[in-house]
Structures are given as structure tokens and as C-alpha cells.
């Protein structure tokens, strides 16, 4: 049986995921993805009616158990420097990143 996730498709996923992989890592991960898909195909054994609703959560949220939405109110963070201190590179309270690639849109 041919692998569902071919090397070409795998490389495309790696690019979309903003990753880069060593050859042995890529081989292992592609193998595991294909193995996992065999388990996922078990889902095809169940007759699922398209009218069956999808469940985003197991527990239904109703008026009985839902919170009221919080007012949309600006609250200053007590110490922004605690957050900025976590950034790998800053300058004058700006977070610094490498050159952002420029793409011309058609």
C-alpha cells in the first residue's frame, strides 16, 4: 500500500508549518504520520449521518452554565516590562526581528 503522505506532500507540510527537518527526523515523522492515518481511517467504519451535528465541545454551553460576556473594557497591564523582558531581542521597548521578506502581490 502506498503511503498517503508522500515525500512531496510531506515537504509541503513542513514548509507550511514553518519547520525544517534533518533527513532522519523527516523519515521518522513521515512514517509516524502514515501510521497515525491508518488509525484515523478507523473513523470510516462508522456510518456518520451528515445531519449529525459537529461537537466543538463535549459539554453543551447553554444559558444555564455560560458566563456573561465581560465588558469590553481596556485595562492597563501593571508592568509591561515583565512581558517585554521575555522577548529575545528588544530595542527601546520595541521587539526586534530579522528582515521581513518582501513579496510583491500579483
Amino acid at each position: 500500500m502506498t503511503d498517503q503522505i508522500t515525500p512531496e506532500l510531506f515537504n509541503h507540510l513542513v514548509q507550511l508549518a514553518a519547520l525544517e527537518l534533518a533527513a532522519d527526523e523527516a523519515e521518522y515523522l513521515r512514517g509516524q504520520l502514515n501510521n497515525q492515518l491508518k488509525a484515523i481511517h478507523e473513523l470510516e467504519l462508522i456510518p456518520v449521518n451528515p445531519a449529525t451535528p459537529i461537537a466543538a465541545h463535549g459539554v453543551p454551553y447553554t444559558a444555564r452554565n455560560s458566563q456573561h460576556a465581560r465588558p469590553d473594557k481596556w485595562q492597563p497591564y501593571p508592568d509591561p516590562s515583565e512581558i517585554l523582558d521575555q522577548a529575545p531581542e528588544t530595542d527601546e521597548r520595541y521587539i526586534i526581528v530579522p528582515e521581513i521578506p518582501h513579496t510583491d502581490l500579483d
Binding site: Q36, K38, A56, Q67, Q86, V97, I100
Partner: protein, 535 residues
């Protein structure tokens, strides 16, 4: 005669002793710190693994030990009590925190290189509530990287935790550090998280109590997210009373997490002793069959669960029947076997989405090398910062949610989730044919497996959660209780599952079971690590 230290006593007993000033919070904390020094060994770090053979004897639950902060906190609790104040229901109780929760001023690593240098600027709600109740935090404990695993072996912080009953075996996961710590006397309580069974499975493997509350019963604010529709913070404790005491503290609505339920939290402790007379407790044949991939072909197969585990559950049912419970056999839960396949899809989509935030820009790891541009910085930072398990989840999540595949995979999995929920709705429906108060099942398909036996086979490892994950899909609460030992002397876990917000019922049944088995020979056997410290 066994020598019991304060660190071996349950939290509910210690609180009384501390509040009555028979012992001090500091003595209790020192007792836990001594036990950690005796049994834990080197904490997990991201440096290279050591080849020191003595490491195979340690528990290695911790990543970060905050001993001095714990002593200061314990002294403060003692001062409050001396001044006539009540520090709260957990006054002076040592606890540990799975290192997936943010705690202000402490490293909060998710056991990943990508967050190894991250110091949280705020504290997660469940941890904050434990502290406000008088708890004493001992430190942060290890886990599978970003919680992705069932053995703790995927942690970037090695050595990974080991099982106190047999240190050549895994403690389970992903809350393996939590369960191992509680089992070894390294803190009475630990806060873990359960996305597919990550509290209940390690609790079963380590012979302690683990609770997955109803989804939304406990706030996820400050939890580094895995599967946002599945994640449930929950207690790991020595006994049911301690688990109830802890859930009482952390449960309830939180304005910082809109998914927390606006449902009053009952008094879990007051109903603990009500017994089980007249309660309807179900057994389902679908929880006595296990599913696994064939080692040669990878094809999915089914087989009866191991005889020792089945017997432990049936024995528990028999004891509960003696106490007056009605045992309802043959409850159909036909979609149980599809829990893992659906989880492979839903959890990966949610994980991939949650992991996009780790980009080397705002916090965490950034590649130290030269890069041509931002895109290369993203790729290198994520490649070097993430281990294999996060990468695997990102790739699968992106594949099954891609526009051309999402109906086939993601939407189908979400519909199967509806069917799993309906299994529980039917079992618990008060007007239905079964009218259960709880379902009694095994927690795990096996007892704790040897380290390195399964790690690397991501499919087989995932199937370790097959009996726990349906409750995460359905959102319903569950508890794992110690239910005996197998012939190798390893703990067997039994599980109770109940309707939404029925944790009080699960505690009540669990406590009745604990009382009726208090004199069982297996209850008197201590883990290998505890036997050695008590020689």
C-alpha cells in the same frame, strides 16, 4: 513497623494538625523537602543525558524545586496561624505544579526547549487558588513535552520521571511528574492536566487518585494550551478526600476563562460519607475490549483486556454491590473504540493552532545563528526548539485541517465526537433505560510499561489513553482510583465516569470503595521507593 513521616500523611489530616498547632507548616514542608532529597535525584534539565547508573533509581519528578520560597511560605502560614488567622483549607499543605502552568517568577517550560528560558509574568488561576487556600508550592514537576505523550519520555528535560513502584517503568503521562511526586511523598497534592487521560492514566500507573473534572469546571487561564476543547486541569492526590479537598479549592467560574461553567460548586467534602446504597453503577463490555495496532502490519485490532485488570474492576463492582449499589451490566458504549482515532484528528488540529504562537519573536527560544530573514528565523527557531512530538502534532494538525481534507477528517471526527457524547447521554439519562449515576471501567489497558518499550511508536503510545479519552471528547468528569496490584506488584487503576458536574457523586462512590477496601492486603503494600526510604 513502617516509619511514617509527615510527608506520608494525607493533606486533610495534616491541615487539622497544622491549624491546631500540633505541628508546624514548616515541619511539614521540611519533611517533604527531605523526601525529595532522598528519592528524587537529579532534576530534569535540557543538558545531555547522564550515564550515571544511579539515576535509574531516582524518581526525577522535578524540573524546578523552589525550596527556599516554600520554606518562607510555610513560615508565613505558621505566623498567620499564631496570629489567630485562618490561612485557608489547605493551610501548610505542600503541593507541586505540572510545569505546563504559568507561575509568576518561576520558569514555566512545558518541558520543551522552546520555553526553557521562559519565566512566567503571571500565575495560572488553579495555582493561584491553591496558594490563596494556604498551600505551599514546592516547585514545578516534569511532563511530556507540551503534554504530548503518555510516558513522560518525550520531555526535553532529562532524566524524565520514573515510576516509584518500579523505577525501570514509566510513571505514565503526561502528568507523570505529578503522579510520581504524590506517590513518593514529594508533596501531598499536585495539579495536573488531562486532555486524553493525562491525569488519570499516570495516577493509575503510580497508585494514586487522579481527577479529570467536567470540562469548564476548572479554569484553564495560565495553562499552556494543548487541545483547547479538551484540556482539563485536575487534582492528583493520595486519597479521595484529598482530591475532593483540592478540587473544592480550584473549581469554579473564572472571569479570565470564558469556558468555565457558571454552575455552583457543591460541597464535595460534606457528601463524601453518604455511601452508595441505591446508586446505579454501570459496567460496559466496550470498556473491557482494547484496541491496538498490530506490531507488524500496523492494522488496528481488538482483544479482551487483561484478566488482572478486568478482575480488579469486577471485584470493585462486587464490593460496591455489597454496600448496596445496583450494578447495571451490559451498558452499550459503542463508540468507545473511536475515541483515539477522533482524538488523533481533533487534538492535532487544536495543538497545531496553539503551537503557531511559538515563533522566537515574543518570548522563548530564538535560534542563536545568523539568519537571512524572518521566515528563516521562524523555521530554525521552531526546528531547534520543538522536539519530535510537537513537530508530529503540528504536521498532522495541518494535514487533517487543510481545506481539501477537513470534511473527510476534521468534520467527521467532530461528528464522531457527538456520537461519543451520545453514548454517555444515553447511559446517564434519568429517563433512559440505564439511568446510571456512574460508569465503572478500567482506567488503562495495561499497568505501567517499561521505559523505552513503547516510546517512538506514536500510535501504540496514543492507544494507552483509549479508556480515558472518551470522557475528554464528551466533557464528562472521571476519577481514577487505586484498584489493586498486578502479579508484578504494579498498581491497577479503576475509573468512574459520571454526568456533567457530578464530581461529588464520583468522590462519594470513590470514598465508599476506599473504605470498604481499607483492609485489603494490597492497600498495605508500599511502593519500592517508599519501602527503601523506610528501611
Amino acid at each position: 513497623m513502617q516509619k511514617l513521616e509527615y510527608c506520608d500523611l494525607p493533606a486533610h489530616q495534616l491541615v487539622e494538625l497544622i491549624k491546631s498547632r500540633e505541628i508546624s507548616a514548616l515541619e511539614v514542608t521540611e519533611s517533604a523537602l527531605r523526601r525529595i532529597a532522598e528519592v528524587d535525584g537529579r532534576p530534569g534539565t535540557i543538558s545531555q543525558e547522564s550515564d550515571d547508573p544511579s539515576e535509574a533509581e531516582g524518581v526525577h519528578a522535578f524540573i524546578t524545586l523552589t525550596a527556599e520560597a516554600a520554606r518562607l511560605r510555610a513560615k508565613d502560614i505558621d505566623r498567620q496561624i499564631a496570629a489567630g488567622d485562618d490561612p485557608g483549607p489547605l493551610a501548610g499543605i505542600p503541593f507541586t505544579v505540572k510545569d505546563i502552568f504559568c507561575v509568576q517568577g518561576t520558569p514555566s517550560t512545558a518541558a520543551s526547549r522552546i520555553l526553557a528560558n521562559f519565566v512566567a509574568p503571571y500565575t495560572a488561576t488553579p495555582v493561584q487558588r491553591l496558594l490563596e487556600a494556604g498551600g505551599v508550592m514546592l516547585g514545578k514537576v516534569n511532563l511530556d513535552e507540551f503534554t504530548y505523550g503518555s510516558s513522560n519520555e518525550s520531555s526535553a528535560f532529562q532524566p524524565s520521571p520514573r515510576n516509584p513502584w518500579d523505577t525501570s517503568r514509566v510513571p505514565g503521562g503526561s502528568s507523570g511528574g505529578s503522579a510520581a511526586a504524590v506517590a513518593a511523598g514529594e508533596g501531598q497534592l499536585s495539579i495536573g492536566t488531562d486532555t486524553a487521560g493525562s491525569v488519570r492514566q499516570p495516577a493509575a500507573f503510580c497508585g494514586v487518585v487522579g481527577v479529570k473534572p467536567t470540562y469548564g469546571r476548572v479554569s484553564r487561564y495560565g495553562l499552556i494550551a494543548f487541545g483547547s476543547s479538551l484540556d482539563c486541569p485536575g487534582p492528583v492526590a493520595r486519597d479521595v478526600t484529598d482530591a475532593a479537598l483540592m478540587l473544592q479549592t480550584i473549581a469554579g467560574v473564572d472571569p479570565q476563562d470564558a469556558t468555565t461553567a457558571a454552575v455552583p460548586v457543591p460541597n464535595y467534602l460534606s457528601s463524601l460519607g453518604r455511601g452508595v446504597r441505591g446508586l446505579r453503577i454501570g459496567l460496559s463490555p466496550d470498556y473491557f475490549r482494547i484496541t491496538f495496532p498490530d506490531p507488524q502490519t500496523g492494522e488496528i485490532q481488538q482483544a479482551p483486556i487483561g484478566e488482572e485488570i478486568e478482575s480488579a474492576v469486577l471485584r470493585a463492582a462486587g464490593r460496591l454491590a455489597e454496600l448496596g449499589a445496583d450494578i447495571v451490566d451490559g451498558v452499550p458504549m459503542p463508540h468507545t473504540r473511536y475515541g483515539i482515532p477522533a482524538y488523533f484528528v481533533i487534538s492535532r488540529v487544536e495543538a497545531a493552532s496553539n503551537l503557531h504562537r511559538f515563533d522566537g519573536v515574543k518570548y522563548g527560544y530564538r535560534t542563536p545563528g545568523d539568519v537571512a530573514d524572518l521566515s528563516e528565523m521562524y523555521r530554525k527557531s521552531r526546528a531547534q526548539g520543538f522536539g519530535l512530538q510537537p513537530k508530529l502534532r503540528i504536521l498532522m494538525g495541518m494535514y487533517v485541517s487543510a481545506a481539501q481534507y477537513s470534511e473527510q477528517y476534521y468534520n467527521r471526527a467532530l461528528r464522531v465526537r457527538t456520537l461519543i457524547r451520545r453514548d454517555f447521554d444515553q447511559a446517564f439519562d434519568p429517563q433512559g433505560p440505564y439511568r446510571l449515576d456512574a460508569l465503572l471501567t478500567p482506567t488503562t489497558p495495561t499497568t505501567a510499561f517499561p521505559m523505552a518499550n513503547i516510546y517512538g511508536d506514536s500510535v501504540l503510545m496514543q492507544y494507552a489513553d483509549q479508556l480515558t479519552v472518551p470522557a475528554n471528547h464528551a466533557g464528562v468528569p472521571g476519577i481514577s482510583l487505586p484498584g489493586g496490584l498486578d502479579r508484578e506488584g504494579l498498581p491497577i487503576g479503576i475509573q468512574l465516569l459520571g454526568p456533567d458536574y457530578s464530581e461529588d457523586m464520583l468522590f462519594r462512590i470513590g470514598r465508599a470503595y476506599e473504605k470498604v477496601t481499607a483492609d485489603a492486603p494490597w492497600r498495605l503494600i508500599r511502593s519500592k521507593v517508599l519501602r527503601e526510604v523506610q528501611l
